[in-house]
């Protein structure tokens, strides 16, 4: 895996796991790979993988069964969408705004593009 330079590695691992849950590769109440397995397959320090698991557990996306491993929480998808939406408004959008100001792009132009994009998709 090629890691980006602007986001902590453990959060990039979280994103990867979120992706697997959103696409349905990991299903509700199913066991996911262990910290050790995931750490090894991504070739990162096990502590980094552990931090990603701790974050997901704290955010109620996965839960631990003692002696069994980690499982996907019911409603994990809903929780992930909520978290990623927060991140979008906190990090992605301000970056886009910054570029808009820099390039003098009007919001109406964006709305126009957005509408035609939506039409293309449907």
């Amino acid at each position: 895996m090629d890691f980006k330079t602007n986001k902590p590695i453990y959060m990039q691992i979280v994103d990867l796991c979120f992706g697997k849950i959103l696409t349905g590769e990991w299903k509700d109440d199913e066991r996911i790979p262990s910290v050790r397995e995931l750490g090894a397959s991504l070739q990162v320090n096990p502590n980094t993988a552990m931090r990603a698991f701790e974050y997901m557990q704290a955010e109620d996306v996965i839960y631990i069964k003692r002696g069994m491993g980690y499982y996907v929480q019911k409603n994990a998808r809903k929780q992930i969408v909520k978290l990623q939406k927060e991140e979008f408004f906190k990090d992605v959008l301000p970056e886009a705004f910054r570029t808009m100001l820099l390039l003098n792009i009007d919001i109406n132009e964006i709305v126009e593009k957005y509408e035609s994009y939506k039409n293309e998709q449907s």
């Binding site: 890691f3 070739q43 990162v44 502590n47 980094t48």
Partner: protein, 275 residues
């Protein structure tokens, strides 16, 4: 697991390598970094009992390392950067040497040799440098010693082997193992090593976990040149810089920048980390 106290060492009295060095190594995958000639290999030699402290002590698993007690030697494996092997296959080598390591596992050795695609019947003296190195890395890891010292393990490894090496090291690291990897190839091991030790002439500049480092220092990438940075370098995307993490921001460690920042600001870095 390794406690070095007030260690002094020199080859020539006029050119000391270590002066009053104190260093503790616990469990984890330690990255041992330092410029050429600062004494990385000498330190590994002292830990493994191959060289003796001129003063001070080096305690490994409860033993003074210079005494080379069997109790310590069975708990430690040191793989030098370059080495000569006996004229035998890795299978024979393991049969004869595995007995010295109480936790040595033949099944693990077989697994790692398969992953590295090493011929287990071929005499190691007839192998290429890389093949020989992979055979001995496989043995070193399969010995399952609480202390594992690897001097430049990725030198000579081909591209797929480096990635296999990272996978294996990540999978065997446990809370009762100290793995110390001395290296210049930080890009090979960037996301693997934690904590990080940076050696300088005579002293230890840094011995901290990645979490501690990113709490104290902030690694940034920006289009404009940042003010008051400890280290700044022009890259394709703009500037890669290291500064003191005053606003407690989260960032991702760049070992190469860290190294330059530490070497260029020795005193300042010490102050930042001692506060």
């Amino acid at each position: 697991m390794i406690q070095i106290s007030n260690l002094s060492f020199y080859y020539k009295k006029s050119a000391p390598i270590f002066e009053g060095v104190t260093l503790q190594i616990k469990s984890g995958i330690y990255g041992l970094l330092g410029e050429n000639g600062v004494g990385k290999t000498s330190l590994l030699h002292i830990i493994s009992g191959l060289r003796f402290p001129k003063s001070g002590s080096c305690n490994v698993c409860g033993y003074e390392s210079y005494k080379r007690k069997p109790g310590m030697l069975s708990q430690l494996f040191f793989l030098p950067e370059e080495f000569n092997t006996p004229s035998e296959s890795i299978s024979t080598y393991a049969k004869l040497n595995g007995v010295f390591y109480p936790n040595f596992k033949q099944s693990e050795l077989d697994e790692y040799l398969d992953i590295f695609q090493v011929d287990r019947q071929k005499k190691m003296t007839q192998m290429s440098f890389g093949q020989k190195k992979k055979a001995m890395i496989a043995f070193a890891i399969a010995a399952n010693t609480p202390v594992l010292l690897l001097d430049e393990p990725t030198n000579g490894l081909d591209i797929p082997s480096k990635s296999q090496f990272r996978k294996i090291i990540s999978s065997v690291s446990t809370s009762d193992k100290s793995i110390v990897i001395s290296t210049h190839q930080v890009r090979d091991l960037e996301n693997l090593i934690d904590p990080i030790i940076i050696l300088d002439r005579n002293q230890v500049l840094l011995n901290n976990t990645v979490e501690e480092i990113t709490q104290k220092l902030h690694f940034t990438y920006s289009a404009t040149k940042p003010q008051d940075s400890l280290y700044c370098e022009q890259i394709l995307q703009g500037y890669s810089a290291v500064s003191e993490n005053v606003d407690n921001e989260e960032s991702i460690l760049n070992i190469e920048s860290l190294f330059s920042a530490v070497v260029l600001n020795k005193e300042k870095i010490k102050n930042i980390f001692n506060n």
